[in-house]
Symmetry: C2
């Protein structure tokens, strides 16, 4: 929180621990990481670790909590769209601002996010991200469709697009972020609004 008033030794130690932690998860996977691993690699005494974190799960939780809070801030900072505004986005082929901001945040924190969301990371973290996304999308869906009936079960629809969004951004992150945040957001927007099969250029045969 208040990184300003923090004793330099504390700040230094925590940064060292977190950096080494990220590296180790990447190298051997979270559950293989030991406290001893961390302190050896960070060149600090094992007791020092316990002055800051209860155990490796506490460290994981606190590292994730920082990210979650930031993403929730981003989500809250963006005003809900009116049906009219959404319509304009659709006409102008402009992606949701939230998805752009999300991609930007992922880009700026790629090191930790790649690892923690990767195959050696923490599956429950993906769920937490999805929950934030869900909150965000639910509100937009309500605003646009009201409580009317849908052609497909709304819960499956939600699961579909949330998984698709997270999966796409993660793919983008893991393949070197070849597009800008705006570009990847636009691609995802098109896949969602035109539908993947139309977006890619499928024409019905006759």
């Amino acid at each position: 929180m208040d990184q300003e008033k923090m004793d330099r030794r504390i700040a230094k130690t925590r940064i060292a621990i977190k950096n080494v932690f990220t590296e180790l998860i990447d190298e051997i996977g979270f559950d293989a990481v030991t406290v001893k691993n961390i302190t050896d690699k960070a060149n600090i005494n094992r007791s020092t670790f316990y002055l800051h974190y209860r155990d490796k799960y506490d460290l994981l939780e606190k590292s994730e909590e920082e990210i979650i809070q930031k993403i929730e801030e981003i989500s809250k900072s963006i005003r809900r769209l009116t049906p009219k505004e959404l319509n304009n986005l659709y006409s102008d082929n402009k992606p949701f601002p939230f998805v752009i901001k999300l991609a930007e945040y992922f880009r700026d924190n790629a090191a930790f996010l790649k690892v923690i969301l990767g195959p050696k990371g923490d599956l429950s973290f993906q769920e937490k991200i999805k929950t934030i996304l869900e909150k965000n999308i639910v509100e937009n869906v309500r605003a646009i469709f009201g409580e009317g009936t849908f052609h497909v079960p709304i819960d499956v629809f939600m699961a579909y697009i949330i998984s698709a969004h997270v999966g796409s951004i993660l793919h983008w992150l893991n393949t070197g972020m070849k597009q800008s945040p705006e570009e990847i957001a636009t691609i995802i927007f098109n896949l969602t609004f035109q539908g993947p099969v139309n977006a890619i250029g499928f024409k019905k045969f006759q």
Copy 2:
């Protein structure tokens, strides 16, 4: 493999281990599971465990391997569709046979799959499932579109629909499988071909 010729004691022990293993992952998460946990709960001697598996990772690997092989069999057993056949599916609103079969297999093995693909499970397993799906879809895409240019990057398209498919089926599994395998496959098919936003019934405002 040859469960026929297996000594009854071996079969009994391995089934006991695998059942308890699934329960424990569900209860405390894979990385918290210890060999001692497993053998205590299964009421077998700890040494017995080591007669069958090298460690808990070996057990995980072998449990996953069975599933992967079955899903790969399913994938291979289904003939590739011709563009004409795909067109017919599209016209008749009939889902891909592979997706139906996949949903059926998930339904029939829900206990282990729910746990291993859940937040306390193994993230790398989801990747393995996605890899099989990718192989399957790539062939269909090639058959239909050839090597032509696409309106969106093909890799993002793939990541999008694969994540969407896995995410939807997992959601279906975790919420009590309210639809039949055919139904959920049809829903996913519609979301993919019409696009999520159209499928749900969105009409452009004017």
